[in-house]
Point group: C2
Chain length 360, copies 2
């Protein structure tokens, strides 16, 4: 299984940034060194900007704290969450690379059933570089994987696939449960290694977790906004979900693919379920309105760029979800601000204007 | 992994029939004895009815050959294919049980990665008895499996799931490829055991293979028609595909689930790709019209039973696919005949009228 090779690949070395949101020293990088060291890191420091975050030697990185975010974005910094891992999307904004891999600092290298260390980044790159098949389900999963193909009955006209925008990886050990499930099953661990990657079909929504996620920034970056969460907001822990629902609707509209499955990382510790419940409870309630909203959202044909799609979606959020809670009006505004900030920092051919944080 | 237990389960012993289409002696049953012997078999003998099919001792079975089919169905026997494994659906028609498991006679017991023999029937029963989740994708796959649950972001209102109508199992060793893929990759084997069961999302079509398949006959039986294939027909090897597309559209309409994944069987030998190409080539071409047809098929709200859905679908087949080839007009007629035969043999409370083949 090539995706579990422990030897580092230099694939996309100059085309991919690793984005890490954190509030602590990044000792977890030691374990990832053989896989991550050749790549550039963008560290988004959450919380107190005066705190010094230690990064193990030998890594090539730039680090942004809240002061940097405010300096770079000015008033538009309001769209970047504070005291919530949603702040990670600032890293997507300032990256100039084609691909992003983002990972949490409590995620470690997992092992496959043979005991080999899994190079999660390498598998994400494979997922992103191979096409997706959102229009018809292949029962043997990823048809482009070695030793597999499209099965009998799969239309030949669909076998070229479409570009892949998102690769969603999974977690061994601590599963990504909500607070109620954490409370009910405090000891449940995910021990099952499912050796598959699959495309999530067109028209189907899924819960996208930001812990172990990669995407084609050039394709879907402007929609990968993690919303308003944490400090001063009525909700937390729905940042990645929000981004997942928005990007899936837009990928479906644009004809791009979203994959889930391999690679696994080892998620080391569960967050506090009582704290999580406080962050989540409005989300758990609102979600029952959000899912039908996203399931029925239709983007008009003239939405031919991700930016246009995202602005249109923000209008629908304001008009329809604004009735659920005024929070969604604020969120719709922030979506617009995000796209404005994206366009400001990502003007074509002006890559020399890239703002620098505390680049090393 | 409970689904790989080698000990036979007597779950649903009196509520499930095993349907086997064949043209040869059923020696393959020896390997399945520990798992199948407690269940009743319905053997549908294809080809020359004067040939004697040997069934290993100790199995409880009834066997139908072409003469039995003609005797029981009269003129309606025209809807049952001859010289094609599509004839298996006659077994669904004459069964009086709630569940059906159907398997090909070149399928043997597979082993899981630990070397344990897989009780495929037991896993299908588990799949059928547990709910499905067609409205939202769970990234940790079957949320009802022990050690797993719904992940963060999965709407609570959808966690009860819906009844499962179909359980589609997979194949180790010889994959279910079409003739062109067989020709291009004559040596490819499926060696990958993917330890997952998942619901195929609502609105998504898939290629349903009849080799290793179970379903809730009470729910979806009247739509599990394998079409007109083989002798006297312009097409073969699309019987299960046709049934899969029809049942998926109807399950989506009725709010029932279709699962795929575990269990695996060991598929022993590939059929001849040159013969297959002859059977398939019109299907490969027509399929490009069939998929858009089924993807856009809408059943009106007053289709409240599977029979009504199926008759409505036959009308749409006649009206839309009849333009592709006159074969589909014949097929639409056969769909109606099938439902009439179903209703005749499955009148509520008249189970004493069950026709008998060469029941032992």
């Amino acid at each position: 299984m090539a995706e579990t090779s422990a030897s580092p690949t230099l694939l996309l070395k100059d085309e991919l940034d690793i984005v890490i949101p954190t509030i602590r020293n990044l000792d977890f990088l030691e374990m990832w060194r053989p896989f991550f060291q050749p790549y550039h890191l963008i560290i988004v420091q959450d919380g107190d900007p005066s705190k010094i975050i230690k990064v193990p030697g030998g890594f090539d990185y730039e680090l942004y704290n809240r002061n940097d975010i405010t300096r770079i974005l000015g008033p538009k910094a309001s769209c970047i969450s504070f005291k919530d891992s949603a702040c990670r999307c600032f890293g997507y904004l300032v990256s100039k690379k084609k691909y992003i891999f983002t990972i949490d600092d409590d995620c470690f290298v997992a092992k496959d059933p043979s005991g080999k260390e899994i190079n999660a980044l390498q598998q994400h790159i494979k997922n992103l570089l191979a096409p997706s098949t959102p229009f018809f389900f292949n029962t043997l999963y990823d048809p482009y994987r070695e030793g597999t193909d499209f099965v009998r009955g799969y239309p030949f006209s669909l076998r070229e696939g479409v570009p892949t925008a998102v690769s969603h990886g999974l977690w061994l050990n601590i599963p990504d449960y909500d607070a109620p499930t954490q409370l009910v099953k405090p000891l449940e661990k995910n021990t099952r290694f499912v050796d598959a990657v699959m495309t999530i079909p067109k028209g189907t929504l899924f819960p996208m977790c930001g812990m172990n996620l990669a995407f084609n920034r050039e394709l879907i970056g402007p929609a990968m906004y993690f919303g308003l969460m944490g400090d001063g907001q009525p909700i937390g822990r729905y940042d990645d979900m929000w981004a997942g629902w928005c990007t899936k609707v837009i990928c479906d509209h644009m004809g791009w693919g979203v994959k889930t499955g391999l690679p696994y990382i080892w998620h080391s510790k569960a967050s506090n379920p009582f704290v999580n419940l406080k962050k989540e409870y409005k989300g758990i309630y609102w979600q029952e309105e959000l899912i039908p909203f996203f399931q029925s959202a239709i983007l008009p044909k003239d939405c031919t760029t991700v930016q246009k799609c995202y602005i249109e979606l923000s209008k629908q959020v304001r008009a329809k979800l604004g009735k659920v809670d005024e929070y969604f009006i604020k969120l719709a505004d922030a979506m617009v601000t995000w796209v404005e900030a994206w366009d400001e920092l990502n003007q074509t051919g002006k890559s020399s204007e890239v703002p620098n944080g505390a680049a090393k």
